[in-house]
Amino acid sequence: MDLSTQYLGLTLKNPLVPSASPLSRELDTVKRLEDAGASAIVMYSLFEEEIRTEDELFDTYLFNQDIGHAEADSYRPFPDNHGSIIDNYLAHLHQLKQALDIPVIASLNGVSSGGWADHAQEIQQTGADALELNIYYVAADIDESGESVEQRYIDTLQAVNCCLEIPLIVKMSPYFSSVANMVRRLESAGADGVSLFNRFYQPGIDLETLDVTPQLQLSRSSESLLAMRWIAMLHSKVDLTLAATGGIHNAGDVMRLLLAGADVTHLCATLLLNSPEYLETILDEMRQWMEEHEYASIEQLKGSVSQQHAADPAAYERANYIEVLRSM
């Protein structure tokens, strides 16, 4: 049985790729994932926000220590050489590349174009097989139009892509008026793939302090249907790689997405909740399903129930409300 799939021009031995998450922070965990059968790994993201905060720290506490008092013009030693989040990221990437046989995809998470081009190049030089650009943008400005948000994606992509030889995939959010059109625009702007979809962590309110606090909520299986629909509709209408992400918890989720047309499926929550070895279970179940349903390869089934190939193509477009409600 051939589980291999094409992803950003790379041939992967199967479509299971752990997504950017804390899983990739420990070399040991990553090796366990590889042993469990992961075909590639997306490294945890280099967050623009983190780098920005670090910049501020350096600016305030290293480079501008003077308060104008005669007895001291600084209050901490100024290191001759110091590491940074970027250095650590590159070092970790290097370490992963040394230790693993599977491709390693680096991930940049940010919204502005400043500085990314340099970092992307450094990532390329360090040996990443591809780069995921995770554009995590909350369009909070009431005066910013949808059009300009879309342009922001394109600009960021182009800023990073201009100097890159390795493939680049954009992880995007579902909050576009026209998701399909946006994917096509990204393709035209040079993306080699898109990863559908980014999840936004929603803040909560602490009922004691009344502070607005970040909340970490892991995905649920049902969330994968959102990606499935759009992948099904995009399949064969665009040429770039389609990666599915968000809510992929079991072999069933994986198979549905592949049938809809995904080239790879990204796993995260299920591996955090279970264990890295759970990936092997999913692979076994996939094989079992394919055997039962007499599929010889992933390529054979990929996109076989996409909108283009589905028995009822209109089902993907219907609002579905009525049917869903009736079934209750």
């Binding site: 780098i51 920005r52 910049d55 720290l57 350096f58 600016d59 305030t60 506490y61 290293l62 480079f63 501008n64 003077d66 308060i67 104008g68 008092h69 005669a70 007895e71 001291a72 013009d73 600084s74 209050y75 901490r76 030693p77 100024f78 290191p79 001759d80 050489n81 110091h82 590491g83 940074s84 970027i86 250095d87 650590n88 400043g114 500085g115 340099d118 970092h119 009344l210």
Partner: protein, 1202 residues
């Protein structure tokens, strides 16, 4: 043209040589020499090697005394060893210096010469310190400039090895140590060539070694000590020759020829002056100028002061000289002349005696104490005096002495022609806005890109919050010898980086005719003119200045730089000044930015670039009208209530006119009045808190946490506020303990608030319908708000203070009704120390005596022009003194002994009088006084009343005993002795004394403001620095645990010991202060004090304390020996076991988190260990606190030994 130029300051220059030519460097931080040690430490930690391919060992000691001991030891064990120090530090080294010299040990001590503490401490430059060591046997070699600090450091090192006589190489503190100058570097091969390895080997051969053992440091008897002391004479006789030969060798290598005594002037000069240090440069410049004018004068620079080579000295002076003025930068009260004068006199007199002939007329004078300006005009004044009929001897120059009339007159209008081709620039900036670093950067750019000589000198502030810096920059085609500030009408370029400074500084007095004035203002080119004060307009028109404006804050903000305007203003400077072609300059600024931030700060670089580009676009020239028109005028704010002294002295100091004050106006013994901090009105805040009275729950937390006592609460009867201004807020006080009609007000002092926001941070009262609105909210500090709250504040001050006998002291609300007698200090915005000091003054201020160790708390506590300590309406308040850094516990113990002695004396007299004058003194009154319980406010209040009655009665008695008693009656009322200082004092330099004071068992209260680092001198590690924290001298993280001072103190068992952190548990802090003060023996409060050195924004001060407690970095506890007496465990733990991982605290502070970036593995290990240690320390305290102290549990008999 300078070969291989480098642009550095004097400290850097001396350290460069010291680090390359030594193996061991033992130091201790002290201003202004600290940077030499810091640089050496930095170089060693970066692996920089010395001439022998080894990395010098740099060790920070617990005091300069300790450093000197270590130096002595390392020298005796054969290592080339050096140290750096100044002032009191040098004094502490004296005992070892005698030893080192006595043993003929080669070594160089590099000294940034500084004033000694006498009537006051001063961090600034003069020769008081080096003159105090001239009998130690050390050679003394003086450098007059940054170039010389480099050159002479090397010459000294070579000469000491050859002569075996140790040398103090000194240069003037600040003027040379901190002047940034473009100088010629010394190539490595020249340094190598100057140091003779045979001599190094000889030094090593003389070292102590068990392989060829000797004894040194013996004790000698009358039979030989004297003769043995004379054995060194040949070395001292030979030394001048040796030094000259080193100078000659150096000249052959560098082309710079120095002489022991260097004469500048005409060969047939009749009048000359003699001096040493940086003043020589100004004198050289002046002499050159006067020579060009045809005068027959000269000057002699003394370089080798000890041994004083009389013959060479005499030979250096032209035979024609008839009159000599010798200038000393020191004062020896009571002497008939200062040291250099006397040496000159001796040499001349000796020659006259031996050879006959007449002596020149020699006068001696003092100049330049504590970096007092020494200008060509003053130097000309000295020459003019020499020309007079009867030149004044024992004169002073640079001040106006109307008391003993020592001072010479000078003509301020005299300037030399040396600066004709020099561009002079002045920049007025905020300490925190980066003006100084931008200017240092500009000097570097200009120095590197042109053949111009450069000079940068920076005048700093004595405040920490809102400090003002004035940068004096000179650029010119010839070497710059102007070792004085840019004077009136001299600056071709004046920049004002803060519009508010226009009100405070007459900066355009400095502007030269046709110069340029650059102003940062929010007003555009069209409207800016109208906003200028009248005198500024007048100067601009008078001097035909070109005026440029830029809204630098806007440009910075738009570029994402926040309030950092340095790059913007630097760009404008280059754009206008024309020192470099504009485009080239811009490119260089950008290059410098890139070099600074590099790859890791990509976004910072981009922001800076954006700021640079938009600075050019937003810089506008303002059209100057022909007439000034009318507008606001600069005015001095003279408070009506101020005393004559305050008006004539303090306010003059505040107005920056201290230099003009004559001697007679100044206190002769260093005594100053309290309450002057309130006069400054510095208006630093950008936002101030505004009280929402209906939300307030009257918890008292805001005045408690305020570092500057700028928000207060007051409770008063309703009718007291009947005439309040309309905007004055007050409400009925919550709580049954107050009379029905009592009102309360929380009022901010708008002009004294620094805007730190801690009061808002701590405020627990939130608006139910708007979570971000509290009972206090920060609001923009606008002119109307300022005016309104200024009126309210004045009104608030006039309201009656709450009766201290009615205060419920154990509640926060109650105790915060007490007036702080420590207010508006110059401490940092959000300071972690001052709330403790303020609290102590609220609780005990009216009976407090404070001994304050040198450090931050002595600087914000007692640095002129003002003091934050103040008095209550009765005129009582804390009395404060700073002795030294090292002796503070002993100093405070002395207070206690004296007070107790006075009290005992008073009691004896009282008893005596009672028995003698039975009919006249009220027996019951006497008895009550003698038996008074003064353990609380009521007791103290009643005792004060009784003593007042006693005073009246005594006055009526008119007997000798009564008069004697009248002199000490004050001591019948309790005095609260406080010994205050930082961790550098308590853990390190003053620990021995602290230990002894605690062991004395006397009633003293020791407050250790623990910032875990030497804060005042710039963040050097102390023994209070925690494991893994990065500090200076611990660049790779402190490798040892924080010393547990409390545990040491608890070992005495009769010391009250507590750990507090006001931001984490305020009630525990309050209770601790009250218990400690009430405890009749020694009390030690170790107070956790977040500091800018931690690498945190102090607006998070309270949060950091909370995290410190939660992570176990800091524990809260009280150890009260009184409990043990009652059969209870004396130790009470007030904080819980660590509830968050150590790194959750540590990662929020750069002092810890930086290590993750420089030494990641070590950081990981330190974090792990610190976490374990936090837990272990807690467990240890917990176990101690759990011991059963009841009698039954005490093991009385040991089991029999079998």
């Amino acid at each position: 043209m300078i070969n291989n130029p480098i642009i550095i300051d004097g400290n850097h220059a001396a350290a460069l040589i010291a680090h390359q030519t030594n193996e061991v460097i033992a130091i201790y931080p002290i201003t202004p020499s600290s940077p030499m040690g810091e640089l050496s430490d930095e170089w060693s930690s970066n692996g920089q090697k010395n001439l022998w391919n080894a990395i010098p060992e740099v060790i920070e000691m617990q005091s300069e005394g300790g450093a000197a001991g270590t130096v002595h030891g390392a020298l005796q064990a054969g290592a080339l060893t050096t140290t750096f120090t100044s002032s009191q530090g040098l004094l502490l080294m004296i005992p070892n210096m005698y030893k080192i010299a006595g043993e003929l040990t080669p070594a160089v001590f590099h000294v940034a010469a500084r004033s000694l503490a006498a009537q006051a401490l001063s961090i600034f430059g003069d020769h008081s310190d080096v003159m105090a060591i001239r009998s130690t046997g050390f050679g003394m070699l003086s450098s007059n400039s940054v170039q010389e600090a480099l050159d002479m450091a090397l010459i000294a090192q070579a000469a000491t090895l050859e002569s075996r006589i140790p040398i103090v190489h000194f240069f003037d503190g600040f003027r040379t140590s901190h002047e940034v100058s473009k100088i010629e570097s010394i190539p490595a091969e020249s340094i190598r060539a100057m140091i003779d390895d045979d001599l190094v080997q000889q030094h090593r051969d003389r070292a102590m070694s068990p392989d060829h053992p000797v004894v040194r440091g013996t004790s000698q008897n009358p039979d030989v000590y004297f003769q043995a002391r004379e054995t060194v004479n040949p070395y001292y006789r030979k030394m001048p020759e040796t030094v000259q030969s080193c100078m000659d060798r150096f000249a052959a290598l560098s082309g710079r020829q120095y002489r022991l005594f260097e004469y500048v002037g005409s060969d047939d000069a009749e009048n000359i002056i003699i001096l040493m240090g940086s003043g020589c440069e100004a004198a050289h410049e002046t002499v050159d100028h006067l020579l060009r004018e045809g005068e027959k004068i000269g000057m002699l620079k003394v370089r080798l002061y000890r041994p004083f080579a009389s013959e060479t000295f005499l030979a250096s002076i032209p035979q024609s000289v008839r009159r000599i003025a010798v200038l000393d930068r020191t004062k020896e009260p009571g002497a008939d002349g200062e040291p250099l004068y006397k040496d000159v006199m001796t040499a001349l007199a000796d020659r006259a005696m031996r050879e006959g002939g007449s002596m020149p007329l020699v006068t001696g004078g003092r100049y330049g104490l504590s970096s007092k300006e020494f200008t060509p005009a003053m130097i000309k004044g000295v020459f003019d005096e020499l020309n007079g009929d009867q030149p004044k001897n024992h004169f002073t120059v640079g001040i106006r002495d109307d008391l003993t009339h020592t001072s010479l007159a000078w003509d301020d209008s005299f300037v030399t022609d040396a600066n004709e081709n020099v561009t002079r620039c002045l920049f007025y900036g905020l300490g925190s806005d980066g003006t100084v670093s931008a200017n240092k950067n500009s000097i570097k750019i200009i120095g590197e890109e042109t053949d111009l000589y450069t000079q940068g000198y920076f005048v700093y502030d004595s405040k920490k919050a809102g400090a003002v810096t004035v940068s004096h920059l000179r650029f010119g085609p010839d070497p710059i010898r102007s070792t004085y500030l840019i004077g009136d009408n001299e600056a071709e370029f004046v920049a004002c980086h803060q519009p508010v400074f226009l009100e405070r500084y007459a900066m355009l007095d400095k502007a030269a005719q046709n110069g340029v004035f650059l102003l940062n203002t929010q007003h555009g080119a069209e409207s800016a003119w109208e906003t200028l004060p009248d005198d500024v307009k007048l100067r601009i028109i008078e001097k035909n200045l070109r005026l440029y404006v830029i809204d630098a804050y806007q440009v910075a903000a738009d570029s994402g730089m926040g309030r950092r305007i340095n790059t913007v203003m630097q760009t404008c400077f280059f754009a206008i000044s024309g020192i470099l072609p504009k485009d080239e300059a811009i490119e260089k600024i950008k290059g410098a930015v890139e070099k600074t931030y590099g790859r890791k700060g990509r976004r910072i670089v981009e922001r800076n670039f954006k700021a640079i580009d938009s600075a050019l676009a937003n810089l506008h020239e303002v059209a100057i009208p022909a007439e000034s028109g009318s507008s606001t005028a600069r005015k001095d704010n003279i408070p009506e209530r101020a005393s004559e002294f305050v008006k004539s002295v303090t306010l003059e100091l505040i107005a920056e006119r201290g230099n003009q004050l004559p001697v007679s106006l100044l206190p002769d013994d260093g005594t100053w009045p309290l309450g002057t901090g309130a006069l400054e009105k510095r208006n630093l805040a950008l936002q101030i808190p505004v009280w929402v009275e209906e939300l307030c729950i009257h918890c008292g937390k805001c005045p408690f946490v305020c570092p500057h006592a700028a928000i207060r609460s007051k409770a008063f009867p309703a009718d007291a506020a009947a005439d309040s201004p309309e905007s004055f807020k007050h409400v009925k006080i919550k709580g049954k303990e107050f009379p029905e009609s009592t009102r309360i007000s929380y009022q901010v002092a708008p002009e004294d608030c620094t805007g730190c926001g801690l009061c808002v941070e701590i405020c627990p009262a939130k608006d139910k319908s708007q979570a971000n609105r509290k009972a206090l909210n920060m609001e923009p500090y606008t002119a109307p708000l300022r005016e309104q709250e200024r009126i309210n504040w004045d009104y608030f001050l006039g309201l009656p203070e709450y009766d201290r006998t009615q205060v419920k002291w154990r509640t926060m609300k109650g105790s915060m009704l007490a007036q702080p007698l420590f207010e508006f200090s110059g401490a940092c915005v959000g300071c972690g120390e001052t709330p403790y000091v303020k609290l102590a003054t609220q609780l005990f201020g009216d009976r407090m005596m404070i001994a304050n160790a040198t450090g931050c708390s002595s600087i914000y506590g007692g640095n002129l022009p003002t003091t934050p300590y103040t008095t209550n309406e009765d005129g009582r308040g804390p009395t404060w003194n700073n002795s030294l850094f090292e002796d503070n516990a002993e100093f405070g113990l002395g207070f206690r002994l004296a007070v107790d002695q006075h009290n005992a004396h008073a009691r004896v007299l009282l008893e005596q009088l009672r028995d003698e004058a039975e009919n006249k003194l009220d027996q019951e009154l006497v008895q009550q006084i003698l038996a008074a319980d003064q353990s609380d406010e009521v007791g103290i209040h009643e005792q004060r009343q009784r003593v007042a009655a006693l005073v009246e009665a005594l006055k009526a008695l008119d007997s000798p005993a009564a008069r004697e008693l009248l002199g000490v009656t004050d001591y019948l009322v309790k005095k609260s002795v406080w010994i205050v200082g930082g961790d550098g004092w308590a853990y390190d330099i003053g620990f021995g004394g602290l230990d002894h004071a605690m062991a004395s068992g006397r009633d003293i209260n020791i407050l250790v403001l623990d910032t875990e680092v030497y804060s005042n001198t710039g963040g050097q590690a102390s023994k209070a620095t925690p494991l893994g924290a990065v500090a200076k001298f611990a660049a790779s993280g402190k490798g040892s645990l924080k010393k547990d001072l409390s545990m040491i103190a608890m070992a005495y068992e009769n010391v009250y010991v507590a750990h507090v952190a006001f931001g984490a548990k305020d009630m525990q802090t309050l209770r601790t202060f009250m218990e400690a003060e009430a405890y009749p023996g020694p009390s030690l409060i170790i107070a956790y004090s977040p500091c800018i050195a931690h690498g945190v924004d102090l607006k998070n001060n309270l949060k950091q304390q909370d995290l410190a407690i939660k992570s176990g970095h800091w524990q809260l506890f009280r150890f009260d020996p009184r409990l043990a007496e009652k059969g209870k465990n004396p130790l009470q733990l007030d904080s819980k076991e660590p509830s968050i991982p150590f790194n959750e605290f540590a990662d929020t502070e750069i002092r810890f988190s930086m290590l993750r970036r420089t030494h990641p593995e070590q950081a990981e290990e330190f974090m792990r260990k610190s976490g374990e240690e936090a837990r272990a320390r807690f467990d240890h305290y917990k176990q101690l606190a759990d011991i059963d102290y009841t009698n039954d549990a005490v093991l009385t008999e040991l089991p029999e030994d079998k």
